[in-house]
Amino acid sequence: MPTPAFVADTIQKNSAGLVSDWLAELKALAGGADHRISEGELKEQGTEFIDLLAAAAPTGTDITAEPWRPVREFLERTSRSRALQGFSSSETATFVFSLKRPLFERIRQGTKDPASVAESTWAVTEMLDKLGLHTVAFFQKSREEVIARQQEDLLELSTPVVKLWDGVVALPMIGTLDSARTQVVMESLLQRIVETGSEIAIIDITGVPTVDTLVAQHLLKTVTAIRLMGADCIISGIRPQIAQTIVHLGIDLEGITTKATLADALALAFKRSGLTVTRAKTA
């Protein structure tokens, strides 16, 4: 019997035993039951994988071939859900690799011919290694997707435009400014100015750790865009070090109203809108 057919036959004949041995192996390697995935679910996955493997194994060990597609897709699904459940990459890889020992045992029991055992063992190793690598590669990809999505979320979260008063909006900027973020900041601020019909916008840079020429240029662009739309812009929250940096870098902030704190900026906004703040009662 040719090797791939023999391997497939062994898997098919011993599928029930293989699954239970495999799961026991997994459990032993994990050092007890895992609370992230139930035993029933694991068993279901194991059974499905063995079935798919038995169907694909007779065609050879080239897992990129078309007959292996269901197996690949199953592993991709599994590794994606593992990634989302918070499993590590080695734990995910172990899911595939731990099948080796039970399968080797079954092969040994299935034939007495040493050459055949060696050859089948090699075929199984090759096959499972490839599948394991595929799983890990896909796991990595899923994780990267998660990271990319979180970055996007962060981008959205980090640009809240708040309404301070009728006709006054403020944007407290936190973190380092880069081109992508400035673009989002600029767009959301301009959009809010249109929506609220605000004539004064305050950009507070208290949370911006450093200001270099690029950041300053981004700020200037935002201020100019705001002016073009017909609103005024005040920049507040400039820390002493940043003031020094701006002057040392020779950045020209001429024509831009700057204030030390958000409170100062709000006071100026009130003054420009003709509002005064008075104490209702003497304390």
Partner: protein
Amino acid sequence: MDRIPILRMGDYLLVTIQVDMHDQLAMTLQDDLTTAVQRTGAKGVLIDISALEMVDSFIGRMIANLSRMARILDARTMVVGMRPAVAITLVELGLSLAGVDTALDVERGMRRLREAVEEAGGSIVDEG
């Protein structure tokens, strides 16, 4: 040939750009507006670009030029209702339209235009 209408409201001229500008239309507008300012002796021009969705460097310069030309003819110009996307585009193109007065919408623009004209003392306000 299509033209952008220039409406007269007392001492002010109202230009509402409702279609996407192309170069020929912009040139015609420049001619028409300068002629209208000269003929009517208007003290203020309000250009509403709230419907303008796309600009290029030519249209951006045209807006700045309109403002300067009207200024030479002794009329204050207010550009109102610029969309965020248009503002970002102009900034990215390096056109900051220095010297052009802007406002958020027609109402605010009209108010500011009146203030500016009255400040300059050039308006012949009908006291009655």
